[in-house]
Amino acid sequence: MKQPNIVIIDYGVGNTHSVFNAINFLGYKKVKISDNPEIIKKADLLILPGVGAFDEAINNLKQRGLEPILGEEVLGKKKPILGICVGMQMLASFSEENGLHAGLNWIEGTVKKLELPDGFAVPHVGWNNLEIIDNTLFSNNNMENIHFYFDHSYYFESKDSSVSAYCDYGIKITAAVQKDNIYGVQFHPEKSQVNGLKLFRRFFTLIDNA
């Protein structure tokens, strides 16, 4: 097994250690949780984890000076990056959480509050199955019976061409986005047991095929 340099980006909020535990299980040894530019520059793969409110997350990211560094690595050097939950939402142009805030604008779209029919509680919490559009990140054929763990009150509204999976919770919700080397998932693969671990494996082997 190849041992790529994997960096989990630490921007203050985010369940970094959960992501670390999951990746560790897969046998990858060179995993770091960091906001240090030097370490980020040496990474082969980046993970932008997320548990947090959008404004806190993006402000923290900007305050730590991470926006230009990540921009160079991801847009310039085309390193694969996986955004998780609010980490995925930060890829968007704007978010409406706690007022209007600009995101990284790497994938066109807006993060909006879930407006659901009666009887659907917000946040959307629990295990849901996906409707797969693009299977780059998803290996299994039997996706209807495979579940991932969601926990969010806002969702990424994007052009159909950048959505790689949807899920159904009263309305159609973007579950995963993808554009070139930029990937984002609304659910938490680090907390989706075996299927989540498989998704990480799939993401980490992307560079093998490149």
Partner: protein
């Protein structure tokens, strides 16, 4: 479609997982890390880790314990106990927690509820409410003073917490805790009616039928149990095998018990000798991740 969740409460006292009975008696079970690893392997949907001595002894969570406990937990982990500052929440998120359960803070430090929601998002805040039945309806119970709050009903408290930014309500019946009498359906319905948040119910589960009943007769989005899961092998998997016949739950473990039979108490029945003999020659490949 979203599935109903089967969740586990892991009660920790002085660093050891315990069985809790009526919030009064505690019997030791074992190390948190091992309890979490097994629950995870048996296919639990979510784990709530509550440290009932953290706040009283140190005034802060036992971060080291959480860090060790979470290493092999690949399902969502909610951590509660001793959290009374936003820095505690931040530190816990660096120790493997995914969500935070607040109980005492909801009574004495409401600012922390809204602060946590504002920083980590509503979905990170699980408000835990202990409930006791009284002549005035269901009242909020303060587990530190060991008394009910005389004027605070569970429904109004839940509603207020929703306003402050709670993302989920975890309701635990003190009367049913460790009693094996089944969930208090009236209590759970009252909470579900009061808020438009996912509700996790706890207290009193004895067997798979209790899970089925609460998921059918109330709008609870998750049913949780503690003691019930600790004493039988594959308890989570067998429970889900029973519940899944009537209610949509996730069953993705390697072993599913889908074709097994259960007795009236939902205990696993032995398969016929002929079936067991056939199984001797079935090759089961190890799952590759």
């Amino acid at each position: 479609m979203l599935k109903k969740r089967i969740s586990a409460n892991v009660i920790v006292r002085n660093g050891i997982v315990v069985q809790s009975i009526n919030f009064k008696k505690y019997l030791p079970i074992g190390k948190p890390a091992i309890a979490l690893e097994f629950l995870n392997q048996w296919g639990i949907d979510e784990i709530v880790l509550l440290d009932i001595t953290a706040g009283i002894q140190n005034g802060k969570p036992d971060f080291g314990m959480v860090k060790k406990a979470s290493v092999k937990c690949y399902v969502p982990l909610t951590v509660g106990g001793g959290i009374n500052h936003l820095d505690h929440v931040k530190e816990l998120m660096h120790c493997g927690a995914d969500k935070i359960s607040l109980n005492q803070a909801t009574l004495h430090n409401k600012q922390l509820v809204s602060d946590t929601a504002h920083t980590f998002g509503n979905q990170c805040v699980v408000v835990s409410i202990d409930a006791v039945e009284s002549s005035k309806g269901y009242l909020v119970y303060d587990h530190v003073t060991k008394q009910a709050m005389p004027t605070l009903t569970v429904a109004s408290h839940a509603k207020q917490m929703e306003g402050l930014g709670a993302g989920e309500i975890f309701v635990n019946s003190v009367d049913r805790d460790g009693s094996y009498k089944g969930y208090d359906l009236n209590l759970i319905n009252e909470v579900c009616d009061a808020v438009n948040l996912p509700v996790i119910c706890s207290g009193g589960a004895k067997n798979a039928n209790d899970f089925l009943k609460v998921l059918e007769d109330t709008n609870a989005s998750a049913a949780s149990a503690g003691n019930f899961f600790f004493f039988t092998e594959h308890s989570v998997t067998t429970t889900k095998a029973v519940v899944r016949k009537q209610k949509d739950v996730r069953l993705e473990t390697f072993i599913t018990y889908s074709n097994s039979n259960f007795d009236d108490e939902f205990r696993l029945l032995k398969k016929k000798d002929s079936e067991l003999e056939d199984m001797l020659y079935v090759e089961i490949k190890k799952e590759v991740i």
